[in-house]
């Protein structure tokens, strides 16, 4: 085969490929409903060798293309949507496509009574479950923008992105799974707001020149209620929890005694630095709103310890009334002992207790809390 021939073969292959793809994409949903299709023929003939006037069909055959209702719902989540305990506005993403030949509205609903599409076992339900349609203003779910709860006027072959948005309850453990289905139901297009639910005319008589509705959608055996020819489409996705893996360590070091900060001894008047380190593991999820409490009540009641109201360990020196240091997780290290909104206090949130709250600890990070006691 010479080069010229190779080119021609290539060109032929290209033509064939284009020819196959083009009609499919252009006419997937088909001829629009309401279009009249007419058929008529012409006959040419001769009589005694003389051509006669061409005759056109007397009555032409005309029928109207009816409304084929067909839709598909597919999730774009290839696997679990990873989430964490107490996470809010967690998103499962779906696409709803109008495969029919008529512009339609679609009502949307979520269902928790489905099994896990990714092979695991569904074992909890999320809270505040909502369904919202992507507005197109900003890609991805935006609380302020994506507020529509139904799909309005979806033309043939067009696709809308729909989100199931939910909160994850506190206390869920790693690998807990919540599966959800999105169910879209066909409604009539054309009106402002959502139209009436579209009804199937398949069992009814045919209107000669009007548009009848024929449901042509498939069943989804994995979503209860989504049967064949019911005008509904559905698909499933699921949340899977990865809880933060927090570890906590506490050390005590004698910082000073009344006579020295060099080799201080544990004698009355000695200052002991307690260091609590909270570490989040490399896998799992960021820990938000972490609270740490350390009660000195028993020691104080027994008269053995007193809380040091002004922290100083030679590294962090705080002003009067600041006895707690938090490094990492909160902005400034020195915290006042009062319950004044800086995230730490002594003896106010709980009696004789160091309380630190609101810590954010990303993966592979730590928060360090330091305070001191004086030996009595």
């Amino acid at each position: 085969m010479n080069t010229n021939k190779i080119y021609r073969v290539l060109a032929l292959l290209l033509v064939a490929a284009v020819a196959i793809v083009a009609p499919l994409s252009a006419e997937a949903a088909g001829t629009a409903s309401g279009i009249s299709i007419t058929n008529s023929a012409t006959v040419n003939y001769e009589v005694s060798g003389v051509p006669q006037t061409a005759i056109l069909t007397g009555p032409t055959a005309t029928f109207v293309v009816d409304n084929k209702v067909n839709l598909t719902v597919t999730t774009t989540n290839g696997s679990y949507v990873s989430t964490a305990p107490s996470a809010t506005s967690q998103v499962l993403t779906f696409r709803v496509t109008n495969n029919g030949n008529t512009t339609q509205d679609y009502s949307l609903a979520s269902s928790a009574t489905v099994t896990d599409p990714f092979g695991g076992a569904d074992n909890f339900n999320a809270t505040l479950v909502g369904v919202f349609v992507e507005s197109g203003a900003t890609a991805g779910y935006q609380t302020a923008e994506d507020t529509a709860t139904f799909i309005d006027e979806l033309v043939s072959d067009a696709t809308a992105t729909v989100y199931i948005v939910a909160d994850i309850p506190a206390g869920r453990a790693t690998n807990d799974i919540a599966a959800y289905a999105l169910i879209a139901t066909t409604h009539d297009g054309g009106s402002g707001g959502i139209g009436a639910a579209t009804t199937d005319d398949s069992g009814a008589g045919n209107s000669l020149l009007g548009v009848d509705v024929v449901f042509a959608d498939a069943a989804n055996g994995t979503v209860p209620g989504d049967t064949q020819y019911d005008g509904e489409g559905s698909d499933r996705s699921a949340y899977r929890v990865t809880a933060a893996a927090l570890t906590i360590a506490k050390t005590a070091v004698v910082y000073s005694d009344p006579f020295s900060t060099v080799n201080p001894k544990m004698i009355p008047g000695a200052v002991i630095t307690y260091t609590i380190t909270v570490t989040n593991g490399a896998t799992g999820s960021q820990a938000d709103n972490v609270s740490i409490t350390d009660s000195l009540a028993a020691e104080i009641a027994a008269g053995r310890l007193a809380f040091n109201t002004q922290f100083n360990d030679g590294v962090d020196g705080c002003g009067a009334g600041s006895g707690i240091v938090v490094v990492g997780g909160l902005p400034t290290p020195c915290k006042t002992n009062t319950n004044d909104g800086d995230g730490a206090d002594f003896g106010l949130s709980a009696a004789d207790t160091v309380t630190v709250s609101g810590l954010t600890i990303p993966l592979s990070s730590s928060a360090v809390i330091k305070f001191q006691v004086v030996v009595q």
């Binding site: 060109a11 088909g30 001829t31 023929a41 006037t53 293309v65």
Partner: protein
């Protein structure tokens, strides 16, 4: 295509209506029918496929419609060289091998009726001059040619199937 053939084709197109207009009222009657096949169960519980008028049926994209043209010679003289031409609606696609016409030569066109040929001779040529065999879905017209004169009172029918786009 040479310039000559283009000119002659244009002439034919222009002349045909003029000669036709000179003739008297026709002696062949045509009637077009569009039908769909509906599967039903009869009184004996047997499955039957019935043809019903497409206008009285629900027809949606993907459905196959049977278009039939009935012809009859209502004159007292035989009609010769009877040729029936049926354009394929832009909203439907011809179903391969579905054209029927007893005793007739059936040909197809992919260029709005300029040229007709048997399916294995139909060629589509793109802008770069590359040719390939035309596909059934590209047929724009169907032509039936009756091989013998249609006697007075003689009648018949031709048909084809097409899928609604």
């Amino acid at each position: 295509m040479t310039t000559k053939t283009v000119v002659s084709m244009v002439l034919v197109v222009l002349l045909l209506p003029m000669t036709a207009a000179a003739q008297k009222k026709g002696s062949i009657e045509l009637r077009s029918i569009s039908e769909v096949e509906v599967a039903t169960t009869n009184a004996k519980g047997e499955k039957e496929v019935k043809r019903v008028d497409a206008a009285a049926s629900k027809v949606i994209p993907g459905d196959v419609v049977i278009f039939t043209t009935q012809y009859a010679n209502v004159d007292k003289k035989p009609a010769e060289n009877v040729v029936i031409i049926n354009p394929v609606s832009e909203h439907v696609v011809y179903v391969e091998n579905s054209a029927e016409g007893p005793g007739m030569k059936i040909e197809f066109s992919v260029d709005q009726g300029k040229r007709y040929a048997a399916p294995d001779k139909l060629v589509k040529t793109d802008a770069k001059g590359v040719s390939r065999r035309a596909a059934a879905r590209e047929y724009t017209h169907i032509r039936w040619t009756l091989g013998k004169p249609l006697a007075p009172g003689g009648k018949g029918s031709v048909s084809f199937r097409a899928r609604v786009k």
